[in-house]
């Protein structure tokens, strides 16, 4: 099961339709079971049964997910692949000791791949939909894989399959979510922990 995390300002908000359901649909279309949970309502059972986790984006005006980062402490010991999208990338960066700063990107922007990674095989440049007003300072344990004019767009943990993506791959770049899912274990990877 893939845990699809809603980071929006309240459970069941309009942002669920916009940022979470589209990701969940891609996960299911790729043949993986998915479970949506709001970030304030993730149980030990959800974490233990997940074979991967995707943290979804939020509305531009929404920053509530950056308060109370202790809710995400489980991430640093989660043994499965993680993909943080936009707000999700910001959470990952903060959990691993990096920071965020104001930088706005709204609309399609060219992405430049700057370091090789299986997730990006065969892609040097591609357009993607950005929707953010914060950018990230990557933590020391991460490397930058792709950039655009508004800063680091894809980062990856040096030793683990933990990725952050600032643009929204659910818009016109579904392939990236598909490749991420191929790293996950549908049956869960609690036994790896």
């Amino acid at each position: 099961m893939i845990l699809v995390v809603d980071l929006s300002y309240r459970p069941g908000s309009l942002s669920l339709d916009e940022f979470v359901t589209p990701v969940e649909r891609i996960v299911r279309q790729e043949g993986y079971p998915a479970r949506i949970r709001h970030y304030t309502d993730i149980s030990h059972q959800d974490i233990a049964s997940a074979g991967g986790a995707i943290f979804c984006g939020t509305a531009l005006a929404d920053f509530g997910y950056l308060e109370g980062l202790e809710r995400f402490a489980w991430l640093s010991s989660f043994p499965c692949p993680v993909l943080g999208i936009c707000a999700g990338m910001q959470v990952l960066v903060r959990v691993y000791g990096g920071d965020v700063y104001p930088a706005t990107g709204i609309g399609m922007a060219e992405q430049q791949v700057v370091a090789p990674d299986p997730l990006l095989a065969g892609r040097d440049r591609f357009p993607a939909y950005e929707l953010h007003c914060l950018a990230v300072e990557s933590p020391p344990s991460f490397m930058v894989l792709a950039t655009s004019l508004s800063g680091a767009q894809i980062i990856r943990h040096q030793d683990r399959p933990v990725y952050g993506v600032m643009f929204h791959p659910e818009v016109r770049n579904e392939w990236l979510i598909g490749r991420f899912l191929s790293l996950c274990l549908p049956e869960g990877c609690a036994h790896l922990g």
């Binding site: 309009l14 916009e18 940022f19 589209p22 609309g107 399609m108």
Partner: protein, 226 residues
């Protein structure tokens, strides 16, 4: 949260309004009336009838005119939203964008500049699944404009129901066009919705059709009991 819905009178903005009302407070509808029928950003056929639709829904309407010139339309949109903030205290805007990055980008930028929330509850939806849902959830709408080859004059004024929906989907597959018509292949006008207190009855309309393009112009309509 108090929201304003960008409302063209077509099915997508009406369904977005329906979703917003289920989760938040819709304080007003917002319409930009383009003078130019070739508007890049805004829906045009029968858009002046949004006043009647707002009355049917029991919601206030904020409307502003636009010359319909690309990019200047964004300033007109900003003006309309700013009026909705002043008059109704909205904190966010709802749109019916599905896959149009062009439309979504411009509206997101306006909302960001005005320090407002922006919601797109239909964003990235599967169009066929969406059309099924809108038809089965009590919306009634007719084809008010066409601008693609498979649509002949007979489509103008046709109500999209279970039967015509299947026909529409088959055409979309055959001609590889967007089944929801978001690329302007066709436009719609909503005559009834779950949040309407009254429905709209079209009393008089005319059809104009040249080449592959046509408009179903509603010349007279009234509200009747549902």
């Amino acid at each position: 949260m108090k929201l304003g819905v960008l409302f063209s009178g077509g099915k997508d903005s009406a369904f977005a309004c329906h979703r917003a009302m289920a989760k938040d407070e819709v304080a007003c509808l917002i319409t930009v009336l383009p003078v130019n029928p070739e508007s890049y950003l805004f829906h045009t056929p029968n858009v002046s009838l949004t006043a009647l639709q707002a009355e049917a829904a029991g919601l206030p309407l904020v409307s502003v005119e636009s010359e319909g010139v690309e990019e200047a339309e964004v300033a007109d949109l900003s003006r309309a939203i700013s009026r909705a903030v002043e008059e109704h205290g909205i904190e966010g805007v709802v749109t019916g964008a599905i896959h149009s990055v062009y439309q979504a980008t411009r509206i997101q930028r306006v909302c960001h500049d005005l320090d407002l929330w922006c919601f797109n509850p239909l964003w990235q939806r599967d169009e066929e699944e969406y059309l099924e849902e809108i038809v089965s959830s009590g919306f009634r709408f007719l084809i008010s404009g066409v601008s693609a080859a498979p649509f002949d004059k007979a489509w103008l004024g046709t109500e999209v129901d279970r039967g015509t929906l299947d026909e529409l989907k088959a055409l979309a597959r055959r001609y590889r066009m967007n089944p929801a018509g978001e690329g302007g292949e066709y436009e719609t006008f909503v005559t009834d919705a779950p949040f309407f207190r009254k429905r709209i009855e079209v009393l008089r309309a005319s059809r104009e059709y040249h080449g592959d393009r046509g408009i179903y112009r509603i010349e007279d309509a009234r509200l009747v009991a549902r």
